[in-house]
Subunit: 210 residues, 2 copies
Amino acid sequence: MDEGLAREVSDKIAHRLERSLKPIPVGVSNRHLHLTQEHWDILFGKGTQPRKFRQVVQPGFWAAYETVAVEGPKGRLENVRLVAPHRSKTQIEISKTDAQALGIKPPVRDSGRLEGSAGIKVIGPAGTFELKEGVILARRHIHFAPEEAKDFGVKEGDTVRVRAGIGGDRELVFEKVLCRISDKFKLEFHLDTDEANASLVRTGDSVNIV
Amino acid sequence: MDEGLAREVSDKIAHRLERSLKPIPVGVSNRHLHLTQEHWDILFGKGTQPRKFRQVVQPGFWAAYETVAVEGPKGRLENVRLVAPHRSKTQIEISKTDAQALGIKPPVRDSGRLEGSAGIKVIGPAGTFELKEGVILARRHIHFAPEEAKDFGVKEGDTVRVRAGIGGDRELVFEKVLCRISDKFKLEFHLDTDEANASLVRTGDSVNIV
């Protein structure tokens, strides 16, 4: 083995060992939805605007005071919170536990990939509509700003293993966690409430790539 | 290294590789409870008996037709199913998702270890009572008959790593899964609905020790 190759391998190993010590903040996603302007108008009335409830960690996004109800063949869920600003497609992110209560079978999907996803009835104070597709279980993922991605040595679309709940009663390793990189993002591991409850992690905890 | 030691090490490695291919059936535990005779009498009336709804995998246990409601500071859950026969302590096993809806904080516990666990109001058709302690999140575990434990090379109280949802959208590895061995048991990996939904496994699927 030549010296250059030996150095390269040793640098890579050292980098991965260091990386496994860098904490990544956890953001647990409760059930929420994104609306198109058209769907907003149906649910809340034309000419009205969502009001900011609180900033979320990812820059530019915020949770609104407004919530909707959704109704499936087996049940109804109140208080599904709107996340603004509006989008080009309506998207509803729920947990598998929610889906079982509603009686629907949404697939695991990356945000925005909604073809063939589940439908549901959406109920607001000014009106209701049948969403044909748009209900998903969000695929767990890590948001990185470009500088952070460089620091962690990951590229857009890479998948990594994430160890969560270290030392706790429900420690586990999530396989194939998607890396998403944008100058609009900030370092954060997103998982849903089922995944958070299975590992006993909460928003504000941290996890590690292993 | 002498030949005996070399053979021992190689046998151990071969055994672990073989073990990782043996399927272990999954049993997802929905929320349920076990009652004392005294608590049964309060909820359903003295002189009445639970009726068998269906056998569960572990020999000797069965799910009853009878269900109760439980009520915490933040909410109420209907249809918590009784598992018979009765026990010396009342024990209620729910998910973390359930606990958040009820507004209580049960600890992760092995079955039967109830000291300092959460309390709840229990409601039946004939009466209600306040359970002081007995509500837990069940620690995930594997049941083995003695012959099965020998085959897997595990002893009572050992912990193992379990890979679940292989090839699926939510593959993960559960750390520190407890091994429980009894001639009353049959091979089965027990996890709750949050853990099942986080890994997308269902009753009848199988997992592996890795």
